[in-house]
């Protein structure tokens, strides 16, 4: 059995320099229609770490991902992504930064007028000076990562919800971004498909060491991610050996009423005395 990955960077990182983190939120607030959604939240995502974000519907989980990408602007506070302050950047500058970030949207957000091949190749082709023949190989590789090579010529409308979600992952990872943002990647899917997608996310975390934020309602998915690692030999997710629980770069963040009420690892979550958190995880 291959050795499980160890969250080396996660707990040793001491510096306050935003450049040494994948994402830093500093006192970020945002309101929609004068209703506060996020109220001065601060957290850090270490490089190579995957952090699961929980909260009730409308608590601002997806907004955190859109803020990190610069798709929406906060009312106050600073957001640093790979050391760059996205709150101070113009839209034109953000396009360059977004090339280093992949996002999987809640409803996949595949371009419905394009085939799977064109969807997955979209970013590679947009980066310019690349011919369609040149992207065929990375498209195939990306689709093979999500085990959907046979769908290249299909349109998104011909795919099931789970397949669309996997194509969205393939599209997000084709250029090997430094950060991945997953918005409810398993929402509304059956348990078998959900496990497949969680396995892909764990694979991305453990094989490519990609930093990631994952919004989810499914606590069991995050627990699986915290207690499993990706075994390259068997090409499957495996449970961590006894005594190594929490030794994967996996964090938990819980939102309530626009504030972060928990930010820690699976051990700290399990030991939390907060009544709301106890109820949430029970």
């Amino acid at each position: 059995m291959a050795a499980p990955p160890v969250a080396a960077q996660e707990r040793t990182q001491q510096t306050d320099d935003p450049a040494s983190f994948a994402i830093v939120f500093e006192d970020v607030s945002i309101a929609f229609d004068e209703k506060p959604v996020l109220d001065g939240i601060s957290f850090r995502l270490n490089k190579g770490e995957t952090k699961a974000i929980f909260g009730v519907a409308g608590s601002g989980k997806s907004t955190i991902l859109k803020l990190a990408l610069g798709l929406v602007r906060p009312d106050s506070g600073h957001i640093y992504v790979l050391g760059e302050d996205v709150t101070a950047m113009r839209e034109e500058q953000l396009f360059d930064l977004r090339q280093k970030i992949g996002m999987v949207f809640q409803e996949s957000a595949l371009f419905d007028s394009l085939t799977v091949r064109e969807n997955v190749a979209f970013r590679a082709l947009e980066e310019g000076n690349v011919r369609e023949e040149d992207v065929e190989k990375p498209v195939r590789e990306s689709l093979s990562f999500v085990e959907l090579e046979n769908t290249v010529d299909m349109f998104p409308s011909e795919l099931s919800g789970g397949m669309r979600r996997r194509v969205a992952i393939a599209r997000a990872i084709i250029t090997h971004p430094e950060i991945l943002l997953y918005d409810s990647p398993t929402g509304g899917l059956d348990p078998v498909t959900s496990t497949t997608i969680i396995e892909l996310i764990v694979k991305q975390r453990d094989v490519y060491k990609t930093s990631a934020l994952m919004v989810t309602h499914r606590l069991q998915d995050a627990f699986v991610m915290a207690t499993h690692y990706f075994d390259r030999k068997s090409n499957h997710m495996q449970p961590l050996p006894p005594g190594m629980r929490g030794e994967v770069p996996m964090g938990f963040l819980i939102l309530r009423d626009g504030k972060i009420i928990f930010d820690g690892d699976v051990h700290e979550l399990a030991q939390s005395k907060d009544e709301y958190i106890r109820e949430y995880i029970s």
């Binding site: 798709l71 957000a109 371009f111 970013r123």
Partner: protein, 260 residues
Amino acid sequence: MELISPSEFAKEKVEAVQDYSVLASRSVGNLFRFPRYFGDMVQQADLIGVGSLPIVILTGLSIGAELALNSANTLQRFGSLSLIGQLVSVGMVRELGPIITGLMVAGRNASGMASELGSMIVTEQIDAMRALGTDPMKKLVTPRVISTVFMLFFLTILSDLLGLFGGALISTFLYGMDWRQYWSTGWQILVFQDVFMGLLKPVLFGFIIATVGCYYGMTAKGGTQGVGRATTQAVVASSVLILVTDLVVTKLLMTIFAYH
């Protein structure tokens, strides 16, 4: 319906004008920035131009024919039926060709753009495009604006010609006018000012159709109902703007060219 204060209403309208102005200016400004999406421009030109051919042919022919039919009656009373070619020619080239083609293309394409972009907004495809590092203004808006301006220009010329042809059919077969006389008088009456006015208008109308259609699409809110609302608003706003612009431009050019 929710009631809002007059100041809030005014603020919303000013913001809408501001957002529209930004979109309109960026759609032109993007022509001078990379990347330029020529493939998308050709695709849109095909959808807008070739796709609009049937309605432009039909309306151009029928408007010219109706213009001839209606004016022939009056002209006959004054014994001036020979002027029918001139009347149809000036009417079509200066006014009816551009405005009818503009309104037809607005009905067909402003709605199409608003619904397509609106659907992309509500299904997060526009956000996905931005997330993938592509500027939707460059990729989606600019090609539509350029293609509409370009294609409406030629569609209007086609509509003018078909209008004259429709008028010729009525004048010849119903009123027994000489075919050659109709065309030669219709041709001779046209001066540079008429043609200039007739060809400037489609450029302005094309810009209005595409920018208004894209604006309503890109600002669609509230799911499928919002997309439907955006589509309707796009057609109404672009049609009204075309009519107002036509009036202003006609008066302005008439003053400049000192028409009597």
